[in-house]
Symmetry: C2
């Protein structure tokens, strides 16, 4: 190649991605699993996931980009650097939730592909190799846990254990599905060293939009605790059972739901009761049983643990008061993850050079980046989500915001690959 | 007949029903619509209701008891008195809810039949005629409103309007179903005058059992207001949406549920949120929509109206606070009904003579008696419900309590028929 990255960074200051090319690929991917009304359903290791992977593979073949696939199905595209120094990586995932939007995931994979193409057509060979990952099963809908490919990449779980995981519907094994769709690769997960990781993703929340900012530089992923409670009371006639003799599971659920909000405010975290299922659910019968879930999140581990323990104490007290009892099942325990202030700084610096406003922020959702943070300096680039909507067919990010974000990613990758 | 009721009451003090005969008939009726596990499903005007009516009819034929059927299907059994004075009536209903118990309804109808048999075999002819009613559609499950037969009997609704009512599933008209099962009778509802009405029924609540009492003498039926609310918020990601930007329909529902309990305590009524349906009902999505119902009851009309209006004001305030809105649908508005203190007094007097403990009480549930109260002095005899359970296959009342109750009814009927 003519131009090498040994030249000063400033020489590439005018470099920009080809947004139309990116958008065309995004649209093409999103025809796979397209839903009526605008969303996408591309569950991990499904036929749709296979089709999206096949399309990505075809593009790498057409463009003569080296592609590696590991034993959990993670796909890595490579732009070779001038040296053998550990690579700089970007990437995200092509799988979606059941009623997924168009951006959650594909933006990070196809944004990375666009950067490789931009560099190649400009004959730029960076000092470090660049890699673009499509991580397997980030969403965790068909198989749990979520963020599975990146968890495997950081060697957080053995490949045998992963292959033995049953699908949520109990019908298939993950290892068999990988073979069926043709994406059980040869490499052991984590088969190359990484010097830094940057993931571009839609914010999935309303903060950037509300504050009128272009770019978020993520310094932390808040912790997530999911818990399922089943409150067991006694069904009773709503007219003939005096208040003091009731064992109203619905009341306890309601009081707990109100408490979760109170505590979230007090501890400056977020807390949600998303599932509430009442039985027998009849107008004139005191609820006998309620299944509810709490989703508690906080950027600080100690405060998150306190939040959880206060909810646990509260439900105990509420059940005692109403003569009910409860069962409790821990569903998810992800502690907060610190990302790299240095990489976040690089994101803000490149955003500024490109004339975009930015702020440091905390990710409310989990991402592959939080797994990568265990093995290398990591940050994320957030772009605004209209109305903060995500995991919804109405998920939307404007073209100019996607364009800004991928251009920031381009320059951050160049910056990091030159270090 | 040899013995007439002209003789002093004391002469019949030793008179008792034949409990085994009653219980045999009760068991026979409850084989119709029997459910696995012990309950009964005999929805009004269904094939099961027809079969139960046919059995009752067969018994009247075997015993040569006069039977009248009116245009809404109410069935009246007659024991002629010595005079033409307005009759004394008892009765209840043979229809049940979808998961009905063995006693709610049949006790009152078959208890009445047993009294006619007891008097006949003892050759007692009371001064006033006795009537035993099987009222149509007390439960209101297949067709609304509930307490339909007694509502028609008190001429609270026209027979044409009744015949035009569609079943809840929209498939049939009530008038057609009456014809289909052969119980559209010739009499206009309310075709004879009634001097007093006494209904025996299980309490369906735990008060008598808790206080160790045998008999309740009902002086009032509390009012019942049912309202359905739909709270409309916005679905949002549970991790990425800051608390202050949420429109959490689930939180509003929870806060309202807690408020209903608080107000019930404060106003000394009962209040229940029986139905709570959340969408999308996912662990990590802020609830977008909740449908909930309130069931508010109070013996005093003014307090019941205050209860309802405070709930309406509260949901408005809660929705404003959370940037949500709500829709509201009135489902039922039954004001409280005063029953007859004099008839309740007769119940307590006869209970005492028979050696049973009793108290005056308020009915928490609606009954045919509350319709009859509009046309004649009316009260109800309550017998204890084990654990207060009703509208449930576990509904249970002990034999000795059934026996006590029907014997009290026997003597109250004799007393009233002699006045």
């Amino acid at each position: 190649m003519e131009r090498s990255f040994i030249k000063p960074m400033d020489e590439y200051q005018e470099l920009r991605i080809n947004f139309d090319r990116f958008k065309k690929r995004l649209n093409e991917i999103n025809r796979i699993g397209a839903m009526e009304g605008g969303g996408v359903c591309r569950l991990s290791l499904s036929d749709e996931d296979k089709a999206a992977r096949d399309l990505l593979k075809r593009w790498t073949q057409e463009l003569d980009i080296e592609l590696e696939i590991d034993q959990i199905g993670n796909m890595f595209l490579t732009l070779p650097g001038e040296t053998n120094e550990p690579c700089v990586m970007t990437g995200s995932h092509l799988d979606t939730v059941g009623t997924g939007g168009l951006f959650d995931g594909p933006l990070g994979v196809l944004g990375g592909l666009e950067i490789i193409e931009t560099l190649r057509e400009n004959r730029i060979r960076p000092k470090r190799t660049l890699k673009v990952a499509n991580f397997t099963n980030e969403e965790g809908v068909r198989f749990t846990p979520d963020m599975m490919g990146s968890l495997a990449f950081k060697k957080g779980i053995s490949i045998d254990e992963l292959h033995g995981i049953e699908s949520v519907d109990g019908k298939v094994l993950l290892g068999d599905e990988l073979i069926r769709i043709g994406y059980k690769g040869k490499f052991e997960p984590g088969h190359f060293p990484v010097s830094a990781f940057v993931e571009i993703h839609i914010e999935q929340g309303p903060i950037l939009e509300n504050e009128g900012l272009n770019i978020g530089a993520v310094t932390k992923v808040q912790g997530i605790y999911w818990t399922e409670y089943t409150i067991l009371g006694r069904a009773a006639h709503a007219g003939t059972t005096p208040i003091e003799l009731r064992k109203d599971a619905g009341l306890v659920a309601a009081q707990l739901t109100a408490f979760v909000r109170e505590k979230a405010n007090e501890l400056d975290g977020v807390g949600t009761v998303g599932i509430t299922e009442v039985s027998p659910n009849l107008i004139n019968v005191v609820p006998e049983k309620v299944r509810l879930t709490t989703d508690l999140r906080h950027p600080e581990k100690e405060k998150l643990k306190k939040f959880q323990s206060e909810v646990d104490e509260k439900i105990k007290a509420l059940c005692d008061q109403e003569n009910t009892r409860f069962e409790r099942k821990e569903r998810v325990r992800f502690d907060p993850v610190d990302l790299s202030g240095e990489v976040a700084g690089a994101i803000q610096e490149q955003a500024q050079k490109l004339g975009f406003s930015s702020k440091r922020m905390i990710s409310g959702a989990g991402h592959d980046a939080q797994m990568m943070a265990a093995i290398c300096p990591t940050s994320m680039i957030f772009v605004p989500s209209v109305d903060g909507i995500s995991h919804n067919i109405e998920e939307f990010t404007k073209d100019e915001d996607l364009d800004r974000g991928i251009n920031v990613l381009l320059h951050v990758m160049l910056d990091l690959a030159n270090r």
